[in-house]
Assembly symmetry: C2
Homo-oligomer: 244 residues x 2
DNA sequence: CGCCCCTTTGAATCTAATCAAAAGCTGTGG
DNA sequence: CCACAGCTTTTGATTAGATTCAAAGGGGCG
Protein backbone atom coordinates (compact mmCIF):
# COMPACT_ATOMS: atom_id res chain seq x y z
CA UNK A 1 0.00 0.00 0.00
CA UNK A 2 1.56 3.23 -1.20
CA UNK A 3 0.42 6.75 -0.45
CA UNK A 4 1.67 10.00 -1.89
CA UNK A 5 0.61 13.58 -2.49
CA UNK A 6 -1.76 14.16 -5.32
CA UNK A 7 -0.15 16.55 -7.80
CA UNK A 8 -2.75 17.21 -10.53
CA UNK A 9 -6.52 17.67 -10.28
CA UNK A 10 -8.59 14.52 -10.73
CA UNK A 11 -10.69 14.11 -13.83
CA UNK A 12 -14.42 13.71 -13.26
CA UNK A 13 -14.90 10.17 -14.50
CA UNK A 14 -17.56 7.45 -14.45
CA UNK A 15 -20.22 7.74 -11.78
CA UNK A 16 -18.76 11.06 -10.61
CA UNK A 17 -20.69 12.56 -13.52
CA UNK A 18 -23.72 12.23 -11.29
CA UNK A 19 -22.38 15.37 -9.63
CA UNK A 20 -22.72 18.67 -11.45
CA UNK A 21 -19.45 20.19 -12.64
CA UNK A 22 -19.53 22.98 -10.02
CA UNK A 23 -20.16 20.48 -7.25
CA UNK A 24 -17.32 18.34 -8.47
CA UNK A 25 -15.08 21.40 -8.51
CA UNK A 26 -15.86 21.90 -4.84
CA UNK A 27 -15.29 18.33 -3.85
CA UNK A 28 -12.20 17.62 -5.90
CA UNK A 29 -9.68 19.64 -3.84
CA UNK A 30 -10.64 17.48 -0.85
CA UNK A 31 -8.82 14.55 -2.41
CA UNK A 32 -5.38 15.34 -1.13
CA UNK A 33 -3.55 12.06 -1.46
CA UNK A 34 -3.43 9.07 -3.77
CA UNK A 35 -3.25 5.55 -2.53
CA UNK A 36 -2.03 2.58 -4.53
CA UNK A 37 -2.60 -1.06 -3.73
CA UNK A 38 -1.56 -4.23 -5.46
CA UNK A 39 -3.89 -6.99 -6.57
CA UNK A 40 -5.18 -9.09 -3.68
CA UNK A 41 -4.38 -6.54 -1.02
CA UNK A 42 -7.02 -5.92 1.64
CA UNK A 43 -7.70 -2.19 1.52
CA UNK A 44 -9.81 -2.04 4.63
CA UNK A 45 -11.20 -4.60 6.93
CA UNK A 46 -14.67 -5.17 8.28
CA UNK A 47 -15.26 -3.49 11.61
CA UNK A 48 -12.29 -1.19 11.41
CA UNK A 49 -13.21 2.46 12.12
CA UNK A 50 -12.62 4.70 9.11
CA UNK A 51 -12.02 8.44 9.00
CA UNK A 52 -11.71 8.75 5.25
CA UNK A 53 -13.30 7.51 2.05
CA UNK A 54 -11.84 6.41 -1.25
CA UNK A 55 -12.60 7.31 -4.84
CA UNK A 56 -11.49 4.67 -7.30
CA UNK A 57 -9.36 6.18 -10.03
CA UNK A 58 -7.95 3.11 -11.72
CA UNK A 59 -8.40 -0.66 -11.43
CA UNK A 60 -11.13 -2.78 -9.89
CA UNK A 61 -12.04 -2.97 -6.22
CA UNK A 62 -14.30 -5.55 -4.61
CA UNK A 63 -16.40 -5.63 -1.48
CA UNK A 64 -16.12 -9.05 0.05
CA UNK A 65 -17.96 -10.82 2.83
CA UNK A 66 -16.66 -13.94 4.51
CA UNK A 67 -19.22 -16.52 5.55
CA UNK A 68 -18.56 -19.38 7.92
CA UNK A 69 -16.10 -19.60 10.78
CA UNK A 70 -12.57 -20.76 10.14
CA UNK A 71 -12.95 -24.25 8.67
CA UNK A 72 -14.22 -24.15 5.10
CA UNK A 73 -14.95 -20.43 5.13
CA UNK A 74 -16.22 -19.26 1.75
CA UNK A 75 -16.38 -15.70 0.63
CA UNK A 76 -18.46 -13.76 -1.79
CA UNK A 77 -17.98 -10.57 -3.73
CA UNK A 78 -21.06 -8.49 -2.98
CA UNK A 79 -19.95 -5.57 -5.12
CA UNK A 80 -17.37 -4.56 -7.70
CA UNK A 81 -16.32 -0.96 -8.12
CA UNK A 82 -15.08 0.53 -11.35
CA UNK A 83 -13.15 3.75 -11.88
CA UNK A 84 -15.21 6.78 -10.91
CA UNK A 85 -16.97 4.94 -8.07
CA UNK A 86 -16.82 6.06 -4.48
CA UNK A 87 -15.64 2.81 -2.94
CA UNK A 88 -16.72 3.40 0.63
CA UNK A 89 -18.62 6.62 0.82
CA UNK A 90 -21.03 4.82 3.11
CA UNK A 91 -18.24 4.76 5.68
CA UNK A 92 -18.85 8.48 6.15
CA UNK A 93 -22.22 8.16 7.89
CA UNK A 94 -21.68 4.65 9.23
CA UNK A 95 -18.08 4.98 10.47
CA UNK A 96 -17.58 1.21 10.28
CA UNK A 97 -18.18 -1.24 7.46
CA UNK A 98 -19.74 -4.68 7.57
CA UNK A 99 -17.50 -6.03 4.80
CA UNK A 100 -13.91 -6.06 3.64
CA UNK A 101 -12.66 -3.97 0.76
CA UNK A 102 -10.09 -5.66 -1.43
CA UNK A 103 -8.05 -4.73 -4.47
CA UNK A 104 -9.00 -7.11 -7.27
CA UNK A 105 -6.40 -5.68 -9.62
CA UNK A 106 -3.63 -3.20 -8.93
CA UNK A 107 -5.57 -0.07 -8.07
CA UNK A 108 -5.17 3.64 -7.59
CA UNK A 109 -7.53 5.54 -5.32
CA UNK A 110 -7.95 9.13 -4.20
CA UNK A 111 -8.40 9.70 -0.49
CA UNK A 112 -10.75 12.23 1.11
CA UNK A 113 -11.05 12.67 4.87
CA UNK A 114 -14.48 12.58 6.47
CA UNK A 115 -13.63 15.86 8.12
CA UNK A 116 -13.26 17.35 4.67
CA UNK A 117 -16.50 15.78 3.45
CA UNK A 118 -18.25 17.27 6.45
CA UNK A 119 -16.95 20.74 5.79
CA UNK A 120 -18.05 20.61 2.15
CA UNK A 121 -21.49 19.41 3.21
CA UNK A 122 -21.80 22.03 5.95
CA UNK A 123 -21.05 24.75 3.42
CA UNK A 124 -23.63 23.46 1.04
CA UNK A 125 -26.38 21.19 2.40
CA UNK A 126 -27.64 20.30 -1.09
CA UNK A 127 -24.43 18.32 -1.43
CA UNK A 128 -25.64 15.82 1.10
CA UNK A 129 -28.51 14.77 -1.06
CA UNK A 130 -26.17 14.16 -3.98
CA UNK A 131 -23.77 12.05 -1.95
CA UNK A 132 -26.72 10.25 -0.38
CA UNK A 133 -28.00 9.52 -3.89
CA UNK A 134 -24.66 8.05 -4.88
CA UNK A 135 -24.94 5.53 -2.06
CA UNK A 136 -28.53 4.82 -3.09
CA UNK A 137 -27.43 3.90 -6.58
CA UNK A 138 -25.02 1.51 -4.91
CA UNK A 139 -27.98 0.05 -3.03
CA UNK A 140 -29.91 -0.34 -6.28
CA UNK A 141 -26.94 -2.20 -7.71
CA UNK A 142 -26.93 -4.44 -4.64
CA UNK A 143 -30.60 -5.19 -5.19
CA UNK A 144 -29.79 -6.15 -8.72
CA UNK A 145 -27.05 -8.50 -7.56
CA UNK A 146 -29.51 -10.25 -5.26
CA UNK A 147 -31.88 -10.47 -8.21
CA UNK A 148 -29.19 -11.85 -10.46
CA UNK A 149 -28.12 -14.53 -8.00
CA UNK A 150 -31.71 -15.31 -7.16
CA UNK A 151 -33.41 -15.60 -10.54
CA UNK A 152 -30.86 -16.30 -13.24
CA UNK A 153 -29.10 -19.40 -14.48
CA UNK A 154 -25.35 -19.41 -14.93
CA UNK A 155 -25.12 -18.19 -18.52
CA UNK A 156 -27.48 -15.31 -17.92
CA UNK A 157 -25.82 -14.40 -14.65
CA UNK A 158 -22.42 -13.99 -16.18
CA UNK A 159 -23.79 -12.16 -19.21
CA UNK A 160 -25.75 -9.87 -16.92
CA UNK A 161 -22.74 -9.14 -14.75
CA UNK A 162 -20.70 -8.30 -17.83
CA UNK A 163 -23.47 -6.08 -19.18
CA UNK A 164 -23.69 -4.19 -15.91
CA UNK A 165 -19.96 -3.72 -15.53
CA UNK A 166 -19.34 -2.44 -19.03
CA UNK A 167 -22.35 -0.14 -18.83
CA UNK A 168 -20.98 1.31 -15.62
CA UNK A 169 -17.52 1.63 -17.11
CA UNK A 170 -18.99 3.54 -20.02
CA UNK A 171 -21.00 5.83 -17.74
CA UNK A 172 -20.22 9.47 -18.07
CA UNK A 173 -19.67 9.62 -21.76
CA UNK A 174 -16.49 7.70 -22.47
CA UNK A 175 -16.83 6.51 -26.06
CA UNK A 176 -18.46 3.11 -26.08
CA UNK A 177 -15.79 0.65 -27.10
CA UNK A 178 -15.98 -3.09 -27.50
CA UNK A 179 -13.06 -4.01 -25.27
CA UNK A 180 -12.96 -3.74 -21.49
CA UNK A 181 -10.12 -4.46 -19.10
CA UNK A 182 -11.98 -6.15 -16.28
CA UNK A 183 -8.98 -8.16 -15.11
CA UNK A 184 -11.11 -10.50 -13.05
CA UNK A 185 -9.97 -14.11 -12.78
CA UNK A 186 -12.56 -16.76 -13.46
CA UNK A 187 -12.79 -17.61 -9.76
CA UNK A 188 -13.43 -13.90 -9.07
CA UNK A 189 -16.35 -13.93 -11.49
CA UNK A 190 -17.57 -17.05 -9.75
CA UNK A 191 -17.37 -15.34 -6.37
CA UNK A 192 -19.46 -12.50 -7.70
CA UNK A 193 -22.08 -14.68 -9.38
CA UNK A 194 -22.33 -17.44 -6.82
CA UNK A 195 -20.89 -20.03 -9.20
CA UNK A 196 -17.80 -22.18 -9.14
CA UNK A 197 -14.74 -21.07 -11.05
CA UNK A 198 -14.88 -24.22 -13.11
CA UNK A 199 -18.39 -23.50 -14.25
CA UNK A 200 -17.48 -19.93 -15.18
CA UNK A 201 -14.98 -21.42 -17.56
CA UNK A 202 -17.67 -23.42 -19.32
CA UNK A 203 -20.01 -20.45 -19.45
CA UNK A 204 -17.31 -18.29 -21.01
CA UNK A 205 -16.79 -20.92 -23.66
CA UNK A 206 -20.51 -20.91 -24.43
CA UNK A 207 -20.54 -17.12 -24.75
CA UNK A 208 -17.51 -17.30 -27.03
CA UNK A 209 -19.05 -20.01 -29.21
CA UNK A 210 -22.24 -17.95 -29.49
CA UNK A 211 -20.13 -15.13 -30.98
CA UNK A 212 -21.38 -12.95 -28.18
CA UNK A 213 -18.24 -12.00 -26.29
CA UNK A 214 -14.77 -13.28 -25.61
CA UNK A 215 -12.99 -13.17 -22.28
CA UNK A 216 -9.25 -13.70 -22.45
CA UNK A 217 -6.67 -12.71 -19.87
CA UNK A 218 -9.04 -10.38 -18.09
CA UNK A 219 -10.00 -8.59 -21.28
CA UNK A 220 -13.66 -8.69 -22.28
CA UNK A 221 -14.18 -8.22 -26.01
CA UNK A 222 -17.81 -7.76 -26.95
CA UNK A 223 -18.56 -8.97 -30.45
CA UNK A 224 -22.30 -8.57 -30.32
CA UNK A 225 -23.54 -6.17 -27.70
CA UNK A 226 -27.19 -6.65 -28.63
CA UNK A 227 -26.85 -10.40 -28.17
CA UNK A 228 -25.15 -9.86 -24.82
CA UNK A 229 -27.93 -7.60 -23.57
CA UNK A 230 -30.50 -10.07 -24.84
CA UNK A 231 -28.97 -13.07 -23.11
CA UNK A 232 -28.52 -10.96 -19.99
CA UNK A 233 -32.06 -9.53 -20.16
CA UNK A 234 -30.26 -6.38 -19.22
CA UNK A 235 -32.18 -3.21 -18.49
CA UNK A 236 -29.94 -0.43 -17.12
CA UNK A 237 -32.71 1.59 -15.45
CA UNK A 238 -31.52 0.63 -12.00
CA UNK A 239 -28.19 2.36 -12.55
CA UNK A 240 -29.98 5.72 -12.59
CA UNK A 241 -27.80 6.97 -15.41
CA UNK A 242 -28.44 10.55 -16.53
CA UNK A 243 -30.35 9.90 -19.75
CA UNK A 244 -33.22 7.80 -18.39
CA UNK B 1 -55.95 1.16 -0.68
CA UNK B 2 -57.45 3.19 2.16
CA UNK B 3 -56.20 6.46 3.55
CA UNK B 4 -57.36 8.34 6.61
CA UNK B 5 -56.19 10.91 9.11
CA UNK B 6 -53.86 9.71 11.76
CA UNK B 7 -55.39 10.30 15.17
CA UNK B 8 -52.80 9.21 17.76
CA UNK B 9 -48.99 9.60 17.79
CA UNK B 10 -47.04 6.69 16.33
CA UNK B 11 -44.97 4.51 18.62
CA UNK B 12 -41.24 4.41 17.91
CA UNK B 13 -40.90 0.78 16.88
CA UNK B 14 -38.33 -1.51 15.27
CA UNK B 15 -35.61 0.17 13.21
CA UNK B 16 -36.95 3.60 14.16
CA UNK B 17 -35.02 3.10 17.39
CA UNK B 18 -31.97 4.02 15.33
CA UNK B 19 -33.20 7.58 15.79
CA UNK B 20 -32.78 9.25 19.15
CA UNK B 21 -36.01 9.89 21.03
CA UNK B 22 -35.83 13.69 20.48
CA UNK B 23 -35.23 13.19 16.79
CA UNK B 24 -38.15 10.84 16.59
CA UNK B 25 -40.29 13.39 18.39
CA UNK B 26 -39.47 15.87 15.66
CA UNK B 27 -40.15 13.52 12.80
CA UNK B 28 -43.28 11.85 14.11
CA UNK B 29 -45.72 14.77 13.61
CA UNK B 30 -44.80 14.68 9.92
CA UNK B 31 -46.71 11.45 9.52
CA UNK B 32 -50.12 12.91 8.96
CA UNK B 33 -52.06 10.09 7.35
CA UNK B 34 -52.29 6.33 7.55
CA UNK B 35 -52.56 4.13 4.50
CA UNK B 36 -53.90 0.59 4.48
CA UNK B 37 -53.43 -1.93 1.72
CA UNK B 38 -54.58 -5.50 1.34
CA UNK B 39 -52.33 -8.48 0.66
CA UNK B 40 -51.08 -8.59 -2.91
CA UNK B 41 -51.76 -4.95 -3.64
CA UNK B 42 -49.08 -2.99 -5.48
CA UNK B 43 -48.29 -0.02 -3.26
CA UNK B 44 -46.14 1.82 -5.74
CA UNK B 45 -44.80 0.98 -9.11
CA UNK B 46 -41.34 1.18 -10.56
CA UNK B 47 -40.67 4.44 -12.33
CA UNK B 48 -43.59 6.30 -10.84
CA UNK B 49 -42.56 9.68 -9.35
CA UNK B 50 -43.10 9.83 -5.60
CA UNK B 51 -43.60 12.85 -3.37
CA UNK B 52 -43.94 10.98 -0.10
CA UNK B 53 -42.40 8.08 1.80
CA UNK B 54 -43.94 5.32 3.89
CA UNK B 55 -43.18 3.99 7.34
CA UNK B 56 -44.41 0.46 7.86
CA UNK B 57 -46.52 0.20 10.99
CA UNK B 58 -48.02 -3.24 10.63
CA UNK B 59 -47.69 -6.18 8.25
CA UNK B 60 -45.00 -7.13 5.74
CA UNK B 61 -44.07 -5.22 2.60
CA UNK B 62 -41.85 -6.48 -0.21
CA UNK B 63 -39.73 -4.82 -2.85
CA UNK B 64 -40.09 -6.75 -6.04
CA UNK B 65 -38.29 -6.67 -9.37
CA UNK B 66 -39.65 -8.23 -12.52
CA UNK B 67 -37.17 -9.82 -14.88
CA UNK B 68 -37.87 -10.78 -18.45
CA UNK B 69 -40.32 -9.29 -20.92
CA UNK B 70 -43.89 -10.51 -20.96
CA UNK B 71 -43.61 -14.22 -21.79
CA UNK B 72 -42.40 -16.20 -18.80
CA UNK B 73 -41.56 -13.15 -16.71
CA UNK B 74 -40.29 -14.15 -13.29
CA UNK B 75 -40.02 -11.89 -10.32
CA UNK B 76 -37.91 -11.74 -7.24
CA UNK B 77 -38.33 -10.22 -3.83
CA UNK B 78 -35.18 -8.17 -3.27
CA UNK B 79 -36.22 -6.96 0.16
CA UNK B 80 -38.80 -7.53 2.86
CA UNK B 81 -39.74 -4.79 5.26
CA UNK B 82 -40.97 -5.37 8.79
CA UNK B 83 -42.81 -2.95 11.09
CA UNK B 84 -40.66 0.02 12.00
CA UNK B 85 -38.93 0.08 8.61
CA UNK B 86 -38.99 3.04 6.29
CA UNK B 87 -40.26 1.30 3.18
CA UNK B 88 -39.12 3.78 0.57
CA UNK B 89 -37.12 6.48 2.25
CA UNK B 90 -34.74 6.24 -0.68
CA UNK B 91 -37.52 7.75 -2.81
CA UNK B 92 -36.79 11.04 -1.07
CA UNK B 93 -33.40 11.66 -2.70
CA UNK B 94 -34.03 9.57 -5.82
CA UNK B 95 -37.61 10.65 -6.60
CA UNK B 96 -38.22 7.47 -8.61
CA UNK B 97 -37.72 3.84 -7.68
CA UNK B 98 -36.27 1.03 -9.75
CA UNK B 99 -38.56 -1.60 -8.23
CA UNK B 100 -42.18 -2.17 -7.27
CA UNK B 101 -43.40 -2.07 -3.70
CA UNK B 102 -46.05 -4.63 -2.85
CA UNK B 103 -48.08 -5.54 0.19
CA UNK B 104 -47.25 -9.13 1.13
CA UNK B 105 -49.83 -9.22 3.90
CA UNK B 106 -52.51 -6.69 4.76
CA UNK B 107 -50.48 -3.69 5.85
CA UNK B 108 -50.76 -0.37 7.56
CA UNK B 109 -48.31 2.42 6.76
CA UNK B 110 -47.78 6.00 7.89
CA UNK B 111 -47.27 8.58 5.16
CA UNK B 112 -44.83 11.49 5.28
CA UNK B 113 -44.48 13.99 2.45
CA UNK B 114 -41.04 14.72 1.06
CA UNK B 115 -41.78 18.37 1.58
CA UNK B 116 -42.13 17.64 5.26
CA UNK B 117 -38.95 15.56 5.35
CA UNK B 118 -37.12 18.43 3.71
CA UNK B 119 -38.34 20.95 6.26
CA UNK B 120 -37.27 18.74 9.16
CA UNK B 121 -33.86 18.26 7.57
CA UNK B 122 -33.44 21.96 6.81
CA UNK B 123 -34.13 22.79 10.44
CA UNK B 124 -31.61 20.29 11.65
CA UNK B 125 -28.93 19.11 9.24
CA UNK B 126 -27.74 16.35 11.55
CA UNK B 127 -31.00 14.62 10.72
CA UNK B 128 -29.84 13.98 7.21
CA UNK B 129 -27.03 11.78 8.37
CA UNK B 130 -29.42 9.69 10.42
CA UNK B 131 -31.85 9.20 7.57
CA UNK B 132 -28.95 8.53 5.25
CA UNK B 133 -27.71 5.89 7.68
CA UNK B 134 -31.11 4.21 7.69
CA UNK B 135 -30.87 3.73 3.93
CA UNK B 136 -27.30 2.48 4.33
CA UNK B 137 -28.48 -0.25 6.68
CA UNK B 138 -30.94 -1.18 3.97
CA UNK B 139 -28.02 -1.39 1.57
CA UNK B 140 -26.12 -3.63 4.00
CA UNK B 141 -29.16 -5.88 4.13
CA UNK B 142 -29.21 -5.97 0.33
CA UNK B 143 -25.57 -7.00 0.32
CA UNK B 144 -26.43 -9.77 2.68
CA UNK B 145 -29.23 -10.96 0.41
CA UNK B 146 -26.81 -11.16 -2.50
CA UNK B 147 -24.45 -13.08 -0.23
CA UNK B 148 -27.21 -15.43 0.85
CA UNK B 149 -28.34 -16.18 -2.69
CA UNK B 150 -24.76 -16.45 -3.84
CA UNK B 151 -23.11 -18.67 -1.26
CA UNK B 152 -25.70 -20.71 0.59
CA UNK B 153 -27.59 -23.92 -0.18
CA UNK B 154 -31.34 -24.08 0.25
CA UNK B 155 -31.54 -25.12 3.90
CA UNK B 156 -29.09 -22.49 5.02
CA UNK B 157 -30.70 -19.82 2.88
CA UNK B 158 -34.11 -20.27 4.40
CA UNK B 159 -32.71 -20.52 7.92
CA UNK B 160 -30.67 -17.40 7.32
CA UNK B 161 -33.63 -15.46 5.99
CA UNK B 162 -35.67 -16.49 9.01
CA UNK B 163 -32.86 -15.51 11.36
CA UNK B 164 -32.55 -12.11 9.74
CA UNK B 165 -36.26 -11.40 9.75
CA UNK B 166 -36.87 -12.33 13.36
CA UNK B 167 -33.80 -10.40 14.48
CA UNK B 168 -35.09 -7.34 12.68
CA UNK B 169 -38.57 -7.82 14.11
CA UNK B 170 -37.06 -7.97 17.59
CA UNK B 171 -34.97 -4.84 17.00
CA UNK B 172 -35.61 -2.02 19.37
CA UNK B 173 -36.22 -3.95 22.48
CA UNK B 174 -39.44 -5.86 22.02
CA UNK B 175 -39.18 -8.89 24.26
CA UNK B 176 -37.64 -11.75 22.32
CA UNK B 177 -40.39 -14.25 21.75
CA UNK B 178 -40.34 -17.56 19.96
CA UNK B 179 -43.26 -16.98 17.64
CA UNK B 180 -43.33 -14.59 14.69
CA UNK B 181 -46.17 -13.76 12.33
CA UNK B 182 -44.31 -13.60 9.04
CA UNK B 183 -47.35 -14.48 6.96
CA UNK B 184 -45.28 -15.29 3.90
CA UNK B 185 -46.53 -18.05 1.65
CA UNK B 186 -44.02 -20.71 0.67
CA UNK B 187 -43.75 -19.28 -2.85
CA UNK B 188 -43.01 -15.88 -1.30
CA UNK B 189 -40.14 -17.37 0.64
CA UNK B 190 -38.98 -18.97 -2.59
CA UNK B 191 -39.09 -15.62 -4.39
CA UNK B 192 -36.94 -14.11 -1.68
CA UNK B 193 -34.40 -16.96 -1.57
CA UNK B 194 -34.21 -17.76 -5.26
CA UNK B 195 -35.75 -21.20 -4.77
CA UNK B 196 -38.91 -22.85 -6.01
CA UNK B 197 -41.95 -22.92 -3.76
CA UNK B 198 -41.92 -26.70 -3.89
CA UNK B 199 -38.40 -26.84 -2.58
CA UNK B 200 -39.21 -24.42 0.23
CA UNK B 201 -41.77 -26.93 1.38
CA UNK B 202 -39.14 -29.66 1.64
CA UNK B 203 -36.73 -27.36 3.43
CA UNK B 204 -39.39 -26.41 5.96
CA UNK B 205 -40.00 -30.07 6.65
CA UNK B 206 -36.29 -30.59 7.25
CA UNK B 207 -36.16 -27.66 9.67
CA UNK B 208 -39.20 -29.03 11.46
CA UNK B 209 -37.77 -32.54 11.70
CA UNK B 210 -34.53 -31.10 13.07
CA UNK B 211 -36.58 -29.57 15.92
CA UNK B 212 -35.23 -26.22 14.85
CA UNK B 213 -38.32 -24.28 13.86
CA UNK B 214 -41.82 -24.84 12.60
CA UNK B 215 -43.57 -22.80 9.96
CA UNK B 216 -47.34 -23.23 9.83
CA UNK B 217 -49.87 -20.85 8.29
CA UNK B 218 -47.41 -18.00 8.14
CA UNK B 219 -46.42 -18.38 11.77
CA UNK B 220 -42.78 -19.12 12.51
CA UNK B 221 -42.27 -20.88 15.83
CA UNK B 222 -38.64 -21.16 16.84
CA UNK B 223 -37.96 -24.19 19.01
CA UNK B 224 -34.19 -23.87 19.09
CA UNK B 225 -32.86 -20.45 18.31
CA UNK B 226 -29.24 -21.47 18.76
CA UNK B 227 -29.67 -24.26 16.24
CA UNK B 228 -31.33 -21.87 13.81
CA UNK B 229 -28.48 -19.38 14.07
CA UNK B 230 -25.99 -22.20 13.66
CA UNK B 231 -27.58 -23.64 10.55
CA UNK B 232 -27.94 -20.11 9.20
CA UNK B 233 -24.36 -19.16 10.11
CA UNK B 234 -26.07 -15.96 11.17
CA UNK B 235 -24.05 -13.01 12.36
CA UNK B 236 -26.19 -9.88 12.84
CA UNK B 237 -23.34 -7.35 12.59
CA UNK B 238 -24.54 -6.12 9.20
CA UNK B 239 -27.82 -4.93 10.69
CA UNK B 240 -25.92 -2.25 12.62
CA UNK B 241 -28.09 -2.78 15.67
CA UNK B 242 -27.37 -0.50 18.65
CA UNK B 243 -25.53 -2.96 20.90
CA UNK B 244 -22.70 -4.00 18.55
C1' DC C 1 14.20 -24.03 -12.34
C1' DG C 2 10.29 -24.78 -9.54
C1' DC C 3 6.19 -23.09 -7.43
C1' DC C 4 1.78 -21.24 -7.56
C1' DC C 5 -2.20 -19.65 -9.55
C1' DC C 6 -5.15 -19.58 -13.46
C1' DT C 7 -7.27 -21.99 -17.19
C1' DT C 8 -9.15 -25.90 -19.43
C1' DT C 9 -11.38 -30.39 -19.90
C1' DG C 10 -13.60 -34.87 -18.41
C1' DA C 11 -16.38 -37.78 -15.26
C1' DA C 12 -19.28 -38.64 -11.40
C1' DT C 13 -22.33 -36.74 -8.04
C1' DC C 14 -25.67 -33.88 -6.01
C1' DT C 15 -28.93 -30.24 -5.52
C1' DA C 16 -32.85 -28.12 -6.81
C1' DA C 17 -36.14 -27.38 -10.73
C1' DT C 18 -39.85 -29.07 -13.14
C1' DC C 19 -43.81 -31.86 -13.92
C1' DA C 20 -47.73 -33.89 -11.96
C1' DA C 21 -51.29 -34.74 -8.84
C1' DA C 22 -53.91 -34.76 -4.61
C1' DA C 23 -55.51 -32.69 -0.33
C1' DG C 24 -56.66 -28.70 2.62
C1' DC C 25 -58.61 -23.98 3.23
C1' DT C 26 -61.21 -19.76 2.19
C1' DG C 27 -64.38 -17.03 0.30
C1' DT C 28 -68.24 -16.57 -3.09
C1' DG C 29 -72.56 -17.23 -5.05
C1' DG C 30 -76.43 -20.11 -6.03
C1' DC D 1 -76.07 -24.56 3.34
C1' DC D 2 -73.40 -26.53 -0.04
C1' DA D 3 -70.75 -26.45 -4.38
C1' DC D 4 -67.14 -24.54 -6.63
C1' DA D 5 -63.06 -21.74 -7.80
C1' DG D 6 -58.71 -20.53 -6.52
C1' DC D 7 -54.79 -20.68 -3.78
C1' DT D 8 -51.56 -22.98 -0.65
C1' DT D 9 -49.46 -27.01 0.94
C1' DT D 10 -47.71 -31.50 0.37
C1' DT D 11 -45.61 -35.53 -1.85
C1' DG D 12 -43.59 -38.38 -5.69
C1' DA D 13 -40.93 -39.00 -10.03
C1' DT D 14 -37.99 -37.27 -13.43
C1' DT D 15 -34.76 -34.05 -15.36
C1' DA D 16 -31.55 -30.31 -15.73
C1' DG D 17 -27.94 -27.57 -14.05
C1' DA D 18 -23.98 -26.86 -11.36
C1' DT D 19 -20.58 -28.79 -8.01
C1' DT D 20 -16.88 -31.51 -6.92
C1' DC D 21 -13.00 -34.24 -7.91
C1' DA D 22 -9.28 -34.99 -10.83
C1' DA D 23 -5.72 -34.01 -13.88
C1' DA D 24 -3.02 -31.60 -17.28
C1' DG D 25 -1.14 -27.41 -19.51
C1' DG D 26 0.18 -22.37 -19.35
C1' DG D 27 2.27 -18.15 -17.50
C1' DG D 28 4.54 -15.28 -14.23
C1' DC D 29 7.67 -14.65 -10.50
C1' DG D 30 11.20 -15.45 -7.06
Amino acid sequence: MLEFKKTAPLAQIGMMHQLSAPHWAQLEPGFTTLRECTAGEVISERGQPLDHSLLLVDGIVGRRIKVGRKQGARHHLVALQVPGDFVDLHAYPLKVLDHDIVAITDVQMAVISHERVKSVIDDQPEFTRQLWSLTLVDAAIHRHWALRNGTMRALQRVANLFAELITRMDAGGAAVTSSYALNLSQPHIGDACGLSGVHINRVLRTLREANCCTYVKGELVVQDRAALNLIAEFDPDYLYLPGS
